[in-house]
């Protein structure tokens, strides 16, 4: 088993990767997954010439990132699929097939990831369909009833009960990865901020860290803390929004409105720091653009203390109301085994009892020296995902209060160095949904040859579709909101 072990945000030369012949590559990847590693990327290393590919894995137990390279002949991009044995690779293989024309042999269910009018074996792709008496199909979207992003959902139902849900995305595809290769420095940051607008900080953080590794730029400590604080503020804001959405979907207006009010306080704190309610314009290569000062720190403290006080009451109200619990508990279950098998990440994984948190296992930025607690619940239902949000908000508030009151003095920005050639880096951050992976390759001319992004939604949409099995179709909006996944982050 030949693989390269690296750390989060470490700079490596591409030549350090051994590119194996297809059979060996297939075998090594399989052996690595037997040891419990989870796939985070399967991608060509050069967008223009996709015959060299890289498979990247995380092993949370010993906190390593593992990389296996493979080299294919131009005329033969076939390999034996792993997905029958390891369902976690299913979607990654579909993506590789769609983007670069690779052919995973014996793949259980090759389907479109972002393309429309997908042709498979010379036939247009057809949705999975169940036939039988009293089986009916429900099609929803791409445009949905609320102010949300587009996606298409195909349910196979028997009465109220969902037997299968197929999620068809790609409506938001803007060609983000391709644009990264063509853009200037200032464009790239704006682009990173727009991968998903609800995780602006998470993605921009990952992007800046990747570029800083490739340019050997040291980020000042004070800037690291400001970045970490803003990442946690984003987490608090979006968890509040998620809780508000869940309360709204069960028709519980008062908590919904209250969580919404508290979210405004958090995003206005971000606006006090950088002018934008989503933290746009805050991050630059080498640090941050805006510094803390006394009024800003006081504003953040003041807002968080209100939230800390009020949220206790609101949580107690939501989580002790019998009618609410009846809707939340044992709805949309994802068992721990299933979550592990299909490679669910982040909040949804922790709600199903998995120990997945980049901040703990692959610490970056201020998490390297600042301790943080992570929580696991075991039931994997809507209740667990809602409750976990409440717990994580408490912990995030604690960290932010701690960090802003004990921040070190100093610079907030260092100058950016020069890009290393023929190199790559993997940068992972823990956004509010889960792990955000940015992988960046440079060629001999120090230009980007490939930029690969994996939003946590890429893993978790599959989790949502499995959560719906044997659930009443009327619970779909609630299940969907409890995962709260990104369409734009998936579609790129």
């Amino acid at each position: 088993m030949k693989y390269l072990e690296i750390q989060n945000n470490q700079l490596h030369n591409i030549d350090e990767i051994t590119f194996l012949v297809p059979d060996e590559f297939q075998e090594s990847v399989r052996n690595l997954m037997i040891t419990g590693s989870r796939m985070i990327a399967l991608t060509a290393i050069d967008r223009a010439d996709p015959k060299k590919i890289m498979a990247a894995f995380l092993n949370s137990v010993d906190s390593t990132i593992q990389i296996i390279g493979g080299e294919f002949a131009n005329s033969n991009l076939e390999f034996e699929s792993w997905a029958n044995e390891f369902p976690q690779t299913n979607y990654f293989e579909c993506e590789l097939a769609e983007q670069f024309g690779f052919v995973p042999q014996n793949h259980p269910w090759l389907r479109p990831v972002r393309k429309q009018n997908y042709i498979l074996n010379n036939k247009p792709y057809e949705f999975y369909k169940i036939n039988g008496d009293e089986i009916h199909e429900v099609a929803v979207g791409p445009i949905h009833a609320g102010v949300i992003e587009p996606g298409h959902f195909r349910f196979q139902c028997h009465g109220e009960l969902v037997y299968n849900l197929e999620i068809n995305l790609g409506y938001q595809h803007r060609g983000v990865e391709k644009l990264f290769l063509q853009s200037s420095d200032s464009q790239r940051i704006t682009l990173a901020e727009s991968i998903t607008g609800d995780t602006t900080i998470g993605h921009t953080f990952a992007h800046c860290s990747a570029v800083e590794s490739l340019t050997k730029t040291q980020v000042p400590l004070r800037a690291e803390i400001i970045r970490t604080v803003s990442l946690e503020l984003e987490r608090i804001a979006m968890h509040l929004s998620g809780l508000g959405g869940i309360a709204n979907d069960i028709g519980f207006a008062l908590p919904s409105a209250s969580y919404g009010r508290l979210r405004t306080l958090v995003i206005n704190s971000l606006a006090a720091l950088c002018g934008s309610r989503f933290g746009r314009g805050l991050m630059i290569y080498g640090g941050v653009r805006y510094d803390f000062n006394q009024p800003i720190v006081e504003k953040i403290l003041q807002n968080l203390l209100i939230i800390q006080k009020d949220i206790k009451e609101i949580n107690e109200y939501l989580f002790s109301t019998v009618g609410a619990l009846a809707r939340l508990e044992e709805t949309g279950n994802v068992s721990s085994e299933l979550a592990k098998q299909v490679g669910i990440v982040g909040l949804a994984a922790r709600a199903a009892g998995l120990d997945e948190d980049i901040r703990i296992h692959f610490p970056f930025s201020a998490y390297k020296f600042h301790g943080i607690s992570t929580f696991h619940l075991s039931t994997g239902d809507v209740f667990a995902r809602a409750r976990l949000r409440a717990l994580e908000i408490d912990e995030s508030i604690r960290i932010v209060l701690d960090l802003v009151q004990n921040i070190s003095t100093g610079e907030i920005k260092n100058n950016q160095g020069k890009f290393s050639d023929n190199s790559f880096t993997i940068s992972i951050t823990e956004g509010w949904r889960g792990e955000i992976v940015h992988i960046c390759f440079t060629n001999k001319n120090q230009n980007f040859s490939q930029y690969k992004i994996k939003d946590p939604s890429f893993n978790n949409w599959y989790g949502l579709s499995l959560a719906l099995r044997n659930t009443a179709i009327s619970d779909f909006p609630l299940c969907n909101k409890s995962f709260d996944l990104s369409y734009a982050g998936h579609d790129l």
């Binding site: 791409p142 063509q182 607008g197 409105a257 934008s276 805006y290």
Partner: protein, 249 residues
Amino acid sequence: MNQSLKIRLLQGDPIIHDIRNANVSELFHGLPKIEDKECLSGCTACSNVCPTNAITLNPVKIDLGKCVFCPLCEEACPEKIIHFTTNYKLVSADRKSLIIDKTTKQISPEVASEKIRKYFGKSLKLRQVSAGGCNGCELELNACSNVNFDLGRYGIEFVASPRHADGIVITGPLTKHMSLANQICYDAVPNPKVIILFGACAISGGVFQNSTETEREFLSKNKIDLFVPGCPPHPLTFINGLLDWLDRK
């Protein structure tokens, strides 16, 4: 019951009463002010750093339909000619008036036609279409209806079905993959109807101007009623723009 009353009391009075004169963060980037000064000879610093090619030179003009309000130009200018103010009133009914120069003091939309005001002046129901929106614009549109901004008090609301709508609000750069759905949605809205473009992506493609995955023909085929600049636009920008346009107090 006690608990619910307690929470209602905690809620207090969160609504922004005077939405026409509400304050935003001091660092908010709103309408840029372009000083009446000469550029250094041959200087292209601001247009070089602009991520969305919003700036043209000699004289300096900024296209707010492209601008993402990132302040890179303000930082780059050696003569400090560009300065972002906190003025969030940016909405216009005329695409051309979004291109501002040193003479621009403010932007206010022309009042809508009598017909539109007669039909929609007191009640405007909108259907939102996200066509590649990153969820930034969507979150801000949702925020318009929260307890702070409460757009509903003006009779303006988002509805689920295009059949119930008086117009559509488009976010995102109009991806190829959403082009058919967007057209179907627009066709389903009964006449008379309006089109509002929300955010830099919808107005100009924004940071996705050079993407090969967009299909923006819909915008040239139809008359656009209102442009809402920003990345994403602030709820106050949208609400005040709508009220000005509908000639409401």
